[in-house]
């Protein structure tokens, strides 16, 4: 069974919880460093270890990043209160998590996706991260371990938990939502967006129903470490639930863990609405009540969001594919492209070359600079470089973080293509193959490739593919 087949009969309902670590210098309630990859328990103090007598003090920058997230997601920024969520677990130094409960900082937002659909945002609240348990023995699995070790470096790292409404109906839409949220978080400086390192974590609440019926019982899928895995996990879970129901069973509310290698989810634990966390307002912290001036300042400090940045590129190159534009924007190279175009380069060429040749090292691209890149693209447009040659020149510019494109072209012996000479070669080859020419004229498009191949061979690959095609078309 595959996802497409089931869609006619079943509808998947998806709500996502995205936890993002915030890009602050320090933790949420103490001055310990917020950095990934330190030796275990090197970034700890009395506060984040929950030592008796220690008290939390809220990090202003974390609050502002949370407000930025709320602003970007069209939320109402509200007076908020930190609460204690009480449960015992060894990765939690105080055996309660300081989070927000009935009064979160961001409420009731929405996010428009590139396909035009809109996903509701229930809330985006601030909370602290937990430490990390490592299970020793038994293959590192929790249930077979001999004992566990705890590292509290991550304990107290600021998180924002973004809770969507159950508005998504397909794995594709869920993936688009996460991509968009991630792009926004990176753009506003709130997150590094690294799902592999766990700084961005996605839990998916998935249920199935026949269209028009009430929501079915949901399962919460954890341990999804990439956007691709998210899609796979949702599709798998959709099939699993449909098979259960169609087999006469019912779905049980539980958490399930995605196993990327096996391509399936595993049972985690039974989840009950009656989980008794005994939330109550954190008496050691006072409410955060942003006034209009503060909210306005945060809004004014907001950088442009990815959707608007993509629109700027679509404006100068309406035909370019969405993914290409998104790639440029997500790499943060859209402004560079705009500068390059302003310096005279062709917009569509600039976007495509940037998406394909420059995004892997945005820093190097910026170092090369707009005018050098514009010059390179112009050489290609002018026929002084073929596409392949242009890519070679760009590669060297990137490696050296700058340089003179003409000098690089000269060094490689890249010569301006002689249009007359090329036209002559084209004519010779076309004339030598009258049968193939007739078939091409008759609409057999694959013959185009035949001629291009012959011509490229005759020019030792130096000819520009586009120019060749243009000349061929003239003969038709």
């Amino acid at each position: 069974m595959n996802a497409v087949e089931t869609k006619t009969e079943w509808e998947t309902v998806i709500g996502l919880e995205i936890h993002t670590e915030l890009r602050t210098q320090t933790k949420l309630f103490c001055g310990c460093e917020n950095n990934f990859g330190a030796e275990p328990n090197r970034n700890v103090c009395a506060v984040c270890l929950g030592l008796p007598g220690s008290l939390p003090v809220l990090n202003e920058h974390a609050v502002e990043l949370a407000m930025r997230i709320g602003t970007a997601l069209n939320c109402t920024i509200a007076p908020s209160v930190m609460s204690r969520k009480n449960y015992f677990y060894p990765d939690m130094p105080k055996d309660y998590q300081v989070s927000q409960y009935d009064l979160p900082i961001n409420l009731d937002g929405s996010l428009a996706l590139p396909d035009g659909s809109v996903v509701g945002i229930e809330r985006a609240h601030l909370e602290e991260d937990t430490g990390k348990n490592t299970h020793v023995g038994g293959g590192g699995r929790i249930q077979n371990a001999d004992y566990s070790l705890i590292d509290y470096n991550r304990a107290g790292i600021p998180l924002v938990e973004i809770v969507s409404r159950p508005d998504m109906r397909s794995a594709e839409q869920a993936k688009a939502y996460v991509s968009e949220v991630r792009a926004i978080l990176v753009a506003i400086g709130a997150s590094d967006g690294k799902m592999e390192e766990g700084s961005l974590r996605v839990d998916a609440n998935v249920s199935v129903r026949r269209p028009g019926e009430p929501f079915g019982t949901r399962c919460e899928i954890k341990n999804v470490n990439s956007i691709r895995s998210l899609g796979r996990a949702i599709d798998y879970e959709t099939r699993r639930q449909i098979e259960l129901i169609e087999g006469g069973d019912s779905v049980q509310q539980q958490t399930r863990h995605w196993n990327e290698g096996e391509g399936r989810t595993h049972f985690g634990r039974i989840k009950s609405d009656a989980d008794d966390y005994r939330y109550f307002p954190e008496p050691d912290l006072v409410p955060v009540v942003p006034d209009e001036a503060w909210k306005t300042r945060v809004a004014n400090e907001m950088p442009m969001l990815p959707a608007a940045r993509r629109d700027r590129l679509f404006e100068i190159s309406p035909e370019t594919h969405f993914d290409t534009v998104a790639t440029v924007v997500d790499a943060g190279l859209d402004q560079l492209v705009l500068d390059v175009v302003k310096a005279g380069a062709d917009a569509r060429l600039a976007i495509n070359r940037t998406a394909n040749e420059l995004v892997n090292d945005a820093d190097a691209a910026s170092a090369v600079g707009a005018s050098t890149l514009a010059q390179t693209f112009q050489m290609e447009t002018d026929g002084k470089l073929t596409a392949t040659q242009a890519k070679t020149v760009l590669g060297e510019l990137m490696a050296l973080r700058g340089g003179d494109p003409q000098a690089i072209a000269d060094k490689h012996g890249f010569e301006p293509v002689d249009t007359d000479a090329l036209a002559k070669t084209v004519n010779e080859i076309v004339d030598a193959h009258p049968d193939e020419l007739e078939r091409l004229k008759g609409g057999e498009q694959k013959l185009m490739g035949f001629f291009v191949g012959k011509i490229m061979a005759a020019t030792q690959g130096k000819a520009d593919g586009k120019a060749v095609q243009a000349l061929l078309r003239e003969r038709l």
């Binding site: 030592l51 008796p52 007598g53 204690r84 060894p90 105080k94 005994r278 008496p283 050691d284």
Partner: protein, 478 residues
């Protein structure tokens, strides 16, 4: 009672040390000797830090000799309640669960008192985690009342109150969540001040009920307690609930008298259940204030009668969460077991005493699903009522007057089997904690058993200077 050396104020001690009249090391040695001669009997201290204290005293003497600044409390011995963190010195909360734990930092108030030149001489006994009114709930034994060792010292700061009463130190730290400074001060015949919530930093105070806890001074005299409060009060950026406020100047106006001061006798706290000798003392106190120019009237604060109920839901609820961290993972006691959850269960079962478990149970219940609104939520609303009723009273009064406790110190063991009876003993002190207001207990006469009686002076937020002024008048005229 020959050892009770009241009379010499801490400022006089400091003055003599600063002027080289006496050495700090002599002052400290004398007090340590006093402790060594009598604390076997009282059990006021969990730990006497002799070496450390003598070293600190010698440092002060050296600074004095070198002409360096030594602070307004130079050479004054101070006893520290054992729920305040002290670097490298066992801090137990009189609980087995913190066995062996040495904090890596000082509480802010401990730092401040040291910066003022005072010298810590030891850590005093308390009801485990400050939960109790008699210092009988300590893992390290009862603290006896210096005035009659068959009686309790009160609690939870019983060790500190007894230490001051016995002359072990002229000042001591207490913490007050529902009366834990004032009630033992009353029982032991010393002065105790519960400051306005937020005036004194809680950083390094091991939390019982965070929204009610407040550190404050116990002193042999009003002047001593006031001088100590001046040294420890003021904003602390490490405590988010700390007021953005400098320490008040209390001693400057301490002797300004009470002429024109409007004093209200709280009806709800001075009638039923108050022992006759205590009621009589309260009346005499009102008379003394009136004779000194105050305007005394009766006033009603109706909601205070719900104080005990609200308190015994709110405080245990916060405590159940504050004490969750004692789980055998990072510090203190661990009872080993097959898996981590069994380890928690065993560690906490064996590490906590009965009263602490009782309150954790009560608080967990009050917060749990289905009961929150009926108990915790409702108690928080009652808290608002109490604050409102106090505000109304303070429209017509500058300060209020009540007994500190309905009785004088009771016998050891008298109330241990009936937790509810013990809780009801806190009726007079609890309402101010719920409102966040300051209050002080001043010794005022004795009962027929020759046990000290305490009178409580209550005021609105940040009225400490007024309380001290009224307290000084009572002290001078008892």
């Amino acid at each position: 009672m020959s050892h009770v050396t009241k009379g010499e104020s801490v400022l006089e001690i400091a003055k003599s040390v600063r002027s080289k009249e006496r050495k700090a090391s002599e002052v400290i040695e004398a007090h340590l000797t006093q402790i060594e001669s009598r604390d076997q009997e009282l059990n006021a201290f969990n730990l006497v830090t002799r070496e450390r204290a003598m070293q600190a005293a010698r440092d002060i003497d050296e600074r004095v000799a070198n002409g360096q600044e030594v602070g307004p409390l130079a050479g004054v011995p101070v006893a520290v309640k054992d729920n305040l963190c002290t670097t490298g010195v066992d801090t137990t909360c009189s609980s087995r669960i913190l066995e062996g734990w040495k904090p890596p930092y000082d509480a802010t108030v401990v730092d401040r008192i040291a910066a003022a030149g005072a010298v810590m001489i030891g850590k005093t006994n308390l009801d485990e985690f400050a939960m109790g009114s008699s210092t009988e709930n300590s893992a390290f034994g009862v603290t006896h009342n210096p005035h009659d060792t068959s009686r309790v010292s009160g609690g939870s700061s019983g060790g500190s109150a007894a230490a001051v009463a016995a002359g072990f130190a002229p000042i001591a730290f207490g913490s007050d969540t529902g009366g834990s400074i004032r009630q033992p001060a009353s029982f032991c015949g010393v002065v105790g001040i519960k400051p306005t919530y937020g005036l004194v930093s809680r950083y390094g105070l091991i939390a019982f009920a965070s929204s009610l806890d407040q550190v404050g001074p116990l002193g042999a005299t009003v002047a001593d307690a006031a001088a100590m409060l001046e040294a420890i009060a003021g904003h602390d950026p490490r405590d988010s609930t700390s007021l953005p406020q400098d320490a008040p100047n209390l001693t400057a106006t301490m002797n300004d008298g009470v002429k024109g001061l409007r004093v209200g006798l709280v009806q709800e706290l001075s009638g039923e259940g108050v022992a006759p000798d205590v009621a009589a003392a309260l009346q005499r106190a009102a008379d003394v204030l009136q004779e000194n120019g105050a305007i005394v009237s009766e006033v009603s604060v109706p909601a205070v009668k719900f104080g005990v109920t609200a308190y015994y839901l709110i405080a245990p609820a916060e405590a159940s969460s504050n004490l969750a961290r004692f789980d055998g993972v990072r510090y203190g006691l661990r009872k080993d077991a097959e898996n981590v959850f069994e380890m928690y269960d065993a560690t906490r079962e064996q590490g906590f005493g009965a009263e602490v478990k009782r309150r954790i149970m009560l608080g967990t219940y009050a917060l749990s699903a289905g009961y929150y609104d009926a108990y915790y939520g409702k108690a928080q609303r009652v808290r608002t009522l109490i604050t409102r009723d106090f505000a109304t009273a303070y429209e017509s009064c500058d300060v209020l007057l009540s007994p500190t406790a309905p009785t004088t110190a009771f016998k050891v063991g008298e109330k241990t089997s009936d937790p509810l009876a013990m809780y009801l003993n806190d009726v007079c002190t609890i309402p101010t904690n719920l409102a966040g207001h300051p209050a002080m207990s001043v010794p005022f006469g004795k009962d027929s058993n020759n046990m000290p009686i305490g009178v409580q002076i209550l005021g609105p937020n940040l009225s400490e200077a007024t309380l001290v002024r009224a307290g000084a008048v009572l002290e001078a005229n008892q």
